[in-house]
Amino acid sequence: LAYLAMYLFAEFDDAANLLAANPDATTISIDEPVEIPKNQHSHLQEPGREEDDELLGTNDSDKMELLAGQKKSAPFWTFDYYQTFFDVDTYQVLDRIKGSVFPVPGKNFVRLYIRSNPDLYGPFWICATLVFTIAVSGNLSNFFIHLGKPTYHYVPEFRKVSIAATTIYAYAWLVPLALWGFLMWRNSKVMNIVSYSFLEIVCVYGYSLFIYIPTAILWIIPQEVVRWVLMIFSLCLSGSVLVMTFWPAVRDDNRRVALVTVGTIVLLHALLSVGCLAYFFDAPEVEVPAPIIPAQNGTVITKSQ
């Protein structure tokens, strides 16, 4: 009980600091395995959370939070079990996408939007859209780059669709698996306040990939500078969503471990976007150097562009 009290006071300190900085912030919700503190926890915070609910304009009441532990009670071989992962409405999916594209500093994507209702619809279909967008945009951009050349014969490059699919689905599912395993391992050594379930991590990664869809479409523009600026911009946006989600989960750990974890997350994300840009989009043609025209009287005149 003393531990619970200490823990709750630490929570209120944290919450007070956060609320002072940002009055709209929600408070931390604990993950499912810790059953007993969760019920008392949310009960104590009910008035604050209702206010936050109204501010956010959502209707997720505390009843949903309390019942969240009982939601996934169907055995995993029944259809109903998987239906619980698709329990989202259109406006919820759109809200989550909006939250991933416009990250607000200080607000945690998982706390704010997922709120223990992780869905598999968003990650799956955002990945599917991204696969086809990258393949189609890469094909289009190559077509426009090589358009004038007489030796160019257009090919649809269908092989690249399967390569894109493998890459993006592997990234969106294996990296969260590794990260979840790593966080669970650290949790057994250092007690962290915030911990995420595997599906919540998959959710964050899936929705954070959304910004790459318009980026891939804009990558058709055959200018290197434009492409790199776009890539850095989208990397900052989606990287910040990931960093703001996972920093609270590792900041109580050893400083070095926390920094390395967050750094690896950002590095893998950057590798994905750089790899996609390099493989699917041919480099635009470098400006042809000025042709040297021999003049009639023997001197060489360089024709400027």
């Binding site: 239906q83 409405d89 086809f132 269908f158």
Partner: protein, 217 residues
């Protein structure tokens, strides 16, 4: 039950009655066995059913014929013909070209299965095979577009032919999406309709892209 030990059915009282439960309406199949009819009748009945569904797809009205009597013959025929027409676009040995037969087949059937699972997981009330049937039949406009594209490509492959092909493919893509949405959207919960329609849009977009980028050798 002590009181019933000496109950026995008397031999004098005849026991009679009907064992079978009378059914309200007999479906036509029970009136005769299809083993006795000529093969031509059997085949023509199925062909007529498939043809009727094709007509329903081209003029999508709110009829339930497509959903009630689902069959997968039409989707199979459409898928095979589309995959065959997309052949001949593969490049030389670098195999950087268009999709192979197996790839088109897998995309259409696997895509339809995934969309059906998606709509069922979101709480749709349509059955698995009904949804497959609708999605398969609504590939018909795109198959027509592929036919038109191949004919236009026989005439030439310049900019004008590309513009014609672009217009035809876009029109047929819109037709397919609208037709399948007209059949499938009613069975979804109202606040999730967009979540169900978007994958259908993506599915027909991918097929349209394969048709548009077909370049013969």
């Amino acid at each position: 039950f002590p009181g019933l030990t000496d109950v026995s059915i008397s031999e004098d009282i005849p026991v009679e009655g009907e064992i079978t439960v009378p059914v309200g309406s007999h479906s036509p199949d029970e009136d005769f066995s299809t083993l006795d009819e000529p093969v031509r009748d059997t085949i023509m009945r199925d062909l007529k059913a498939v043809g009727k569904k094709f007509v329903h797809v081209m003029y999508p009205k709110k009829s339930s014929a497509l959903l009630r009597d689902w069959d997968l013959w039409g989707p199979l025929v459409l898928c095979v013909s589309l995959a065959l027409m997309l052949q001949g676009g593969s490049a030389d040995s670098r195999d950087d070209g268009g999709p192979q037969f197996a790839e088109v087949f897998v995309i259409i059937w696997f895509g339809a299965v995934v969309i059906t699972l998606n709509s069922k997981l979101l709480g749709g009330t349509i059955s698995f095979f009904q949804s497959l049937c609708v999605l398969g039949y609504c590939v018909l406009p795109l198959t027509v577009a592929m036919l038109v594209c191949r004919l236009v490509l026989l005439a030439g492959s310049g900019t004008i032919s590309f513009i014609i092909r672009l217009i035809v493919v876009i029109a047929m893509f819109g037709w397919s999406t609208l037709a399948s949405t007209a059949f499938l959207a009613d069975s979804q919960p109202p606040n999730r309709k967009a979540l169900v329609v978007y994958p259908i849009f993506l599915f027909y977009f991918v097929i349209s892209w394969m048709i548009l980028t077909f370049t013969p050798q």
